[in-house]
Every structure is written in C-alpha cells, then in structure tokens.
Amino acid sequence: MKRKLEAVIGLEIHAQMKTDTKIFCGCSTEFGSKPNTQTCPVCTGLPGVLPVLNKKALEFIIKAGLAMNCNIARNSRFARKNYFYPDLPKGYQISQYELPICEYGYVTIESETGEKRIGITRIHMEEDAGKNIHEGAHEYSFVDLNRTGVPLMEIVTEPEIATSGEAADFMRKLRSILRYLDVCDGNLEQGSLRCDANVSVRPEGSNQLGVKAEIKNINSFRFVERAIEYEIKRQIDLVESGGAVIQETRLWNSVTNTTESMRSKEEAHDYRYFPDPDLVPVMMADEEVERIRQSIPELPDEKRTRFISEYALSEQDADMIVAEKRTSQWFEEAVKLGGKPKVLCNWMTGEFTRLLNDKSIDIDDSKVKPHHLCDLLTLIDKGTISVKIAKTVFEEIFEIGRMAEEIIKDKGLIQISDSEEIEALIDEIISKNPDEVNRFKAGENKLMGFFVGQAMKATKGKANPKVVNEIIGKKLSSQA
C-alpha cells in the first residue's frame, strides 16, 4: 500500500513598516492620499537620483528580527532585483539578496500538538512598488506611485509548517509580534501584511521536499487557511491519481475558493540580483543592536506565560488576552483597579469582544474604560444587579460610556432581592397558571424554567434569579 502524503508549507510575508517616511526618500507613507501626491524625484526614479536609507526602517526591522530571535548581521547589503513593470519606476526594486539584515530566527506557535517552533530563514528590507490602476474603458492604465518606496520587511520561514491551521496560527502570532513592536499595523485586507505560501506534499516521514507551488494573493486570515487547505488537497489528489505537481506560481481566487495557475517555472523572471552600488553596506555596531534590543517591550509569549502564572488564566484565555498589546494593557489596568482576573477575562473575551467586533472598533477607541467594567463587576458581586442585567448595562456603557451606577439608577435596573416582594409575585404566578402547576407536580420538572421566566418577565429581569429559584422551589414543593 502507498504511504500517506503529508504537506510541507513555508511562508513568505511582506510587512509594510510603520515609518512616517519612505525607505529611501523623505516622502510621506500615509495611506489613501490622491494618486502621485506623495512622490519626489527619488521615488519616481528620475534620472540621476540616489537612494538614502531611512534609519527608522533599519531600526524597525532589527527590532522585528530580535523579537523573532534572529541573528542581526553586522554587515548587510542592498541588492537590486531587476524587472520591468510600470509600477516599478527604476526598473529594479531595491531589496536584499546576499547578506540580509536578519537570519536564523524562530517564532513559537501553540499548535494542536503543543508548542512548536517555526524557523525564520531570513528577514530583509526592501521598497514597496507602486500600483497599476485599471479604470474606465481606456486603452491604457494608470500608475500611482504613492506606495513606491514604502519600507517593507520580507519575512521568510523555513518549510516547517505542517497544516493550514499552523500557517494561520503562525500568521496570527507574527501579526501580534509586529503590532506589539509597533512596526507594522498588520492588516491583511489593506495589504500592510501580505502572505505568500509555498506548498508541497511528500510521503509521510520523508526528508525530501516535494515540488512546490507558490500561492499568492492571500489577503485575509481566513484565506490563509482556506487557500493552503485547498492547495494541499489539490496536490494530494493530483499525486494520488498518478499525476505530478509542477513548480509554478498560483493565485488564490477567493470567489471560486480555488488556486489557479499564474505562471510556470519556465516563465519565471531572472531577476539578475546584484549589490546596489548606490548604497553602502549597512554596518551595525554591537552597542547599536543592544540599544535596539533594550527598546523591545514585553512580547506576547512572555506576557502569556506571565499572565498564566500571575493571574491564573487558562492558556486559551491568556492567548486571547495577549494577542493584542492594547487588550493586554487594558486587562492589566482593570486588574490593578481590583477586578478579578478570571471574571474580567470572561467579560473581555465574551461580551466586550463581541461588541467591539460588531462595531469594528479598537479596544482603545472604545468608550468602555477599565474602571467601567470593574465597577460593573462590583455591582454584580454586591448583588445590586444580576449578570443578565449587567449585560444590558454593559451595552449601555459601550454606547455612551456612562458609569454603571448612574445607568442602573436612571433605568431602575436595581435587582430585586427582597424575598417578600418576590414571594408575592410568585404567588400570583402560581395562581394564574394552575395547569402548569399541576403538570409540574406530575413530574414535568422542566417547567421550573417557565415559572422563573414568568417572574423575570414580570420584573423586567430585575428579580434576583437566585432568590426566584429558591422561592419557586419552596412554593411548589410546599403545595404538593
């Protein structure tokens, strides 16, 4: 019998660096300006101009390299990648080839089988290209060079990713790291983070790599999984039915949910890389690298470990809280205000996240501040409101950012825990619903919920459910 096939995946990620200015000139990198308004002689490739390296971009990529446990080259070099395209004004892209700035790193992901290290082959600097715009029924296209020269880091992993799930986990972790460092905003949809995947299959346990296909145009986290999943299946089906994978570049089509051949190896460019004579080698002193290392904040992995031990969060909870730096900061602030970590975490990963996602706003931009949630939780603890009411109140805080107590007062949402008041109410319910009472007594226990529901309805949810339950239980059994 034939051996089973396994997939081997390597990723190539382009991350736009969040510098204010471009990598080789002083133009702004701001997104969304009018076409060709953020350009100068240098980034439009006029005759005679020369590039000068943006020191900030260098610092950003070294930060990223250190955060991904890379070796930082003390002597690194720029190279020209030569090809013709209208969005590439010089006819070559300034990139790195031999001697990249970062090499030999790794990123740890939490896969289904536990922690796994994914090797980072290299991270190098390069300039982004512009954009060709095909608009209207013209016989020609337009070129927008605003993006030309925006600094990019290209992150290349080892072919050590086994499943589409791991690939997505890797992308999420990478995004998290880059955002912690504040060097990239990590937006796949807007293209500030772009992912290409090299996928191949081989007999399980083999040490040799199969022929790979490179998948491009994967522009959302969902598509990372879907595109790779599709491609693995395509290759396995192909090989199992006696075919062979050919080396080619394929495009992910998110409408048909398939990958389609774009060009074969034979049609691949010869980029004729050579060292860029306009830029001197980048020499990094040890002290400079050390200075940058010192500026790196606590990263998601360390934070996760600390949150688990310090706040007794579960691994899953910790993962969710630390994924975004701002979320973790919000959480810690709330803890400092006296919130119980586990409860805070439940609210944050549940209700709060749901509302933030619905309205697609960032936690920092939310009207809910840590003290709002802490106050609300105290009110629950004191029995002033029920958890259910608290959710309504929370929505109100989310909308207008007022203090919980004011909302409760204004809307008369204070929980009714007074047993006499509730007893009277329940007596009334019992007398109005003799059928249900009889059925309950005949053993239809699930009708308990009906009586509780009636009580909550009558009090608009304000009745303390604990007290309601107790009294109903007592009343109905005493009637028996």
């Binding site: 006029l46 005679g48 101009v49 390296l53 010869d270 004729r272």
Partner: protein, 468 residues
C-alpha cells in the same frame, strides 16, 4: 577681474556666447546653449555684490548632469526632451558659488564611449583638427574648453571620460577620488565608477572648481565624509623630494612611441624639479579592460532600465505593454548603449553571474591592492593618459573592442577609485596634444594638483592654443 569692475558680468558671458556662435558649428561641443537662462541669471547676480569664488564665471556642464529647468539629454533620443525638475548637487554648489551656465555639452550617449561619436545628436570635433574626435565621453566639455567656448566645464569620468578627452584636446581634466564629489543628479552610467570632475585650461582652475564641487552630500550615500583640504592653497609648485612612481605596465608596445617620448620627457622634467623617480609595478593592469567592461555594463544594464517610456522621456506606443517597452527602447537607445545593456544583462544573468560579474568584482580588489601597494613606495604615479593621440572620426566606430582598448591607461584608476589628473605634456608630429596622467592616493587630490601645477609651470604646453 569682475569684482574689479574691469568687465561686467554681462560682457563676460556675452563674449563667450559670441565665441560659441562663431565656433560651435565647427566643434559641435554644445547640445544646448542656454543664453536666455544665463542672462536671467546674470540679472539676479548683478544685484548681489559677491565675493563668491565663481561670481559671474561662465561655465559649461556635461549634458548628463541634471540642471533644473534646462534640458538634460545625455545625448540620447530617449531623454531628448527631458527637463529635470531638480538641480544636481554639483550644479547647486556652482550656483551657490555664483556661476553662470552657458549650456550643456555633448557626450557619448549616456557617457558610453571614448569619442563622443555615439551622441544621438551631433559628433563633436577636436578643436585641434576637425577630422579627429575630441575623445569622450566628455568630448563636448573638453572641446568647449579647448576652443574657448567657456572658461571651464564639468565632465564625468567612469573609465577615463574626463581625462582622455582632456588629453586629446590639450586641456586639464581631473577625476576626483570616488566619493569626493556627490553623484546626486549625475545620470548614472556605472554607479560604482562614475565621478564628476572639472575640465579646465590650467591646474589652478581645476583646483578652484574642485574646491567648489567637493564635499559630503547627505543625498549621496557613497559620498565621502573626508574633510576638504585647501586645494588652491596646496599649489606651491614645490615637488622636491616627492617620490614619483613610473609603472612599467603603462609603457608597453600598445603605447604609441611619440606618446611615450612625450611622457618620458615629462618624467625627466619632473625629476629636474627635484622629484625622485622610482620604477614601480601595477601588475594587474592588463585585466583592467575586461574587469571594467563587465562591471560597468552590468551596472549600466540596471541603471538604464528606468527609461521605459512610462514616466518621462520618449514613449513609442505599442499594442501591449511589452511592445511599448520594446519599441521605446529600440527607438530611444543607440547601438553602443544597446550593446552595453546586452553585455551587462548577460553578465548578471543566472548561471553567468559567478563567472562574470562576481569574478570581476573579485578582480576589482586586485586593482585596489595594486595601488595601495604602490602608494606604500611612492607619493604619485605618472603614466600616459592615453595610448595614442586623438584618432580620426569614424576610425574606431566599426570595432568596439578597439574603442574599448583606448581606455587602457585610465580604467584601473576608476576600478580602484583613486584620483587622477591629465595635463598636456607635448604634441605629436601631427600637432595633436599628448596627455600626462598623474595618479594619487585616495583623497590626495591636493598632491596630484600640486604635482601637476609644478610641471605645468615648468613647461609651455598650455600656452599653445588650437587655431580654431
């Protein structure tokens, strides 16, 4: 002269424009004469009283150096109508020093050539003999200086493009140390070799111009941080005890006997001024042509990729994008430029890179080593600037290799990055000027200028002018 009010700024520049009107039909030195621009400039200058070193001085600039608002064509059809929206660093420095731009001078297309014959517009003639080339690629600048169409000019030198035409035209041409002068605004041919330098009638002017255009530029990462000596101040004319090295590799059978004779006489003269003459070796000289033509063409193939018809310059439409590229570049570039783009593209191609480009880069280190070793023994090196005197127009155009070999004496200087100057050292039997190349150690322009000055003051060569 000007500050003393002996002549007005206008009179001075007008005299040169008259001279250009009179002789440029014969020399064909200029691609663009910028008369209106110059007089507007003079109006502005006249309102300032200035001690600036080049106040009102009319100069010409090679047409591969960007001048804001003035066409910069590189003598190529592909940039025939290109007007730079920015100023090169060197011309900005000249502007700050008060110069008046007379016009832009002809060159071999994109500075690729040794005769100015590959210009897409006109063939520049040698002022000493109209049927001969002025050399190249800065042939327009050298001819303009020799024919008195300007006081001095800027050229650029990638493999001898300042020194060889200076030698052929009987003027002084200096290629500074790589990094001494900013390349920002110099349209790149081979970025690791290109340097801008002055072409002048005498050594003092060379020192003066170098002083103005030199210095670190934050817009050019390859420009040096080295401090600037006082170049004119270093012209003492005293070379007693200075050690001059004569490399035997530059006096082989490939060098014309009359050229050799002139250079040997110059060596004797220099010795008589109290200098010490030492035989030295630059053992890798014979590999310079091969090394240079791989590196220079490789860089050029990439540097010239931007002329694609998309953003500026010539565009020849086509059905598909690739047709537009092909049509534009086929029509826009001349034969020599195409030849070099193809050579360079080949040398960088995968499978050939190691054998050509990489090997040539390794060989390049040998030229650096040669000069470093030599400068442990001597202060200055002297050689002929060219193996022969100005050749006839059309003589070498059919044989590119013969044309390339003409650069044999100048190439290794660019490969190593050291500075060198060419000054007149005699005339051959046809009455054509012979050039003496004086090479210095890195950033020792002051020393080669002084050596050149000492020799120049002791001979009469620069007093002889062409009959044009």
């Amino acid at each position: 002269m000007i500050t003393g009010k002996e002549v007005s700024l206008k009179e001075l520049s007008s005299a040169f424009f008259e001279r250009i009107d009179k002789v440029d039909d014969k020399t064909c030195a200029f691609v663009t004469v910028s008369k209106d621009y110059a007089f507007k400039r003079i109006d502005v200058l006249s309102k300032e009283r200035s001690e600036n070193p080049l106040y009102g001085i009319p100069l010409a600039v090679k047409d591969n150096i960007c001048t804001k608002g003035i066409k910069t064509t590189c003598s190529s059809k592909i940039l025939e109508d290109f007007i730079p929206p920015y100023e090169s660093t060197v011309t900005e420095k000249l502007l700050n020093a008060g110069y008046v731009l007379l016009g832009k001078t002809n060159l071999d297309e994109f500075a690729m050539g040794s005769s100015t014959e590959s210009s897409a517009f006109r063939i520049t003639k040698n002022p000493w003999s109209p049927d001969r080339t002025p050399g190249g690629s800065s042939g327009g600048s050298a001819a303009a200086v020799a024919a008195d169409e300007c006081i001095a000019a800027l050229g650029s030198d990638t493999g001898g493009s300042i020194r060889q035409p200076a030698s052929y035209c009987g003027v002084v041409g200096l290629k500074p140390t790589y990094g001494r002068v900013s390349r920002y605004g110099l349209v790149a041919f081979a970025s690791s070799l290109d340097q801008i330098g002055p072409i002048t009638k005498n050594v003092r002017d060379s020192a003066l111009l170098l002083q103005v255009i030199s210095g670190h530029d934050k817009r050019d990462s390859t420009s040096a941080l080295e401090s600037l000596p006082d170049f004119t101040g270093s012209l003492t004319g005293d070379i007693k005890g200075v050690k001059f090295g004569i490399p035997e590799e530059y006096f082989t059978e490939g060098i014309d006997s009359e050229v050799k004779e002139c250079v040997k006489n110059a060596v004797k003269k220099i010795e008589s001024l109290g200098a010490e003459i030492v035989e030295i070796n630059l053992p890798h000289t014979e590999y310079a042509v091969a090394t240079y033509y791989i590196l220079a063409t490789s860089e050029a193939s990439s540097n010239l990729a931007r002329y694609d018809g998309v953003k500026y310059g010539l565009r020849v439409s086509g059905k598909e994008l690739s047709d537009m590229y092909l049509n534009t570049r086929a029509r826009g570039f001349g034969t020599e430029v195409k030849r070099r783009i193809m050579l360079g593209t080949y040398a960088l191609s995968s499978g050939y890179y190691d054998a050509y480009y990489k090997k040539a880069q390794q060989a390049r280190t040998l030229f650096i080593k040669d000069f470093k070793e030599a400068f442990k023994k001597v202060d200055i090196i002297i050689t002929p600037t060219t193996p022969d005197t100005a050749f006839k127009i059309g003589e070498k155009t059919e044989d590119p290799l013969l044309m390339y070999l003409n650069d044999i004496c100048t190439l290794s200087v660019n490969l190593a990055g050291v500075p060198a100057i060419s000054i007149p050292c005699g005339f051959d039997s046809a009455g054509m000027p012979v050039g003496l190349q004086i090479i210095g150690n890195y950033f020792a322009e002051d020393r080669i200028l002084n050596a050149a000055y000492a020799y120049e003051q002791s001979v009469e060569w620069s007093k002889r002018r062409p009959a044009i």
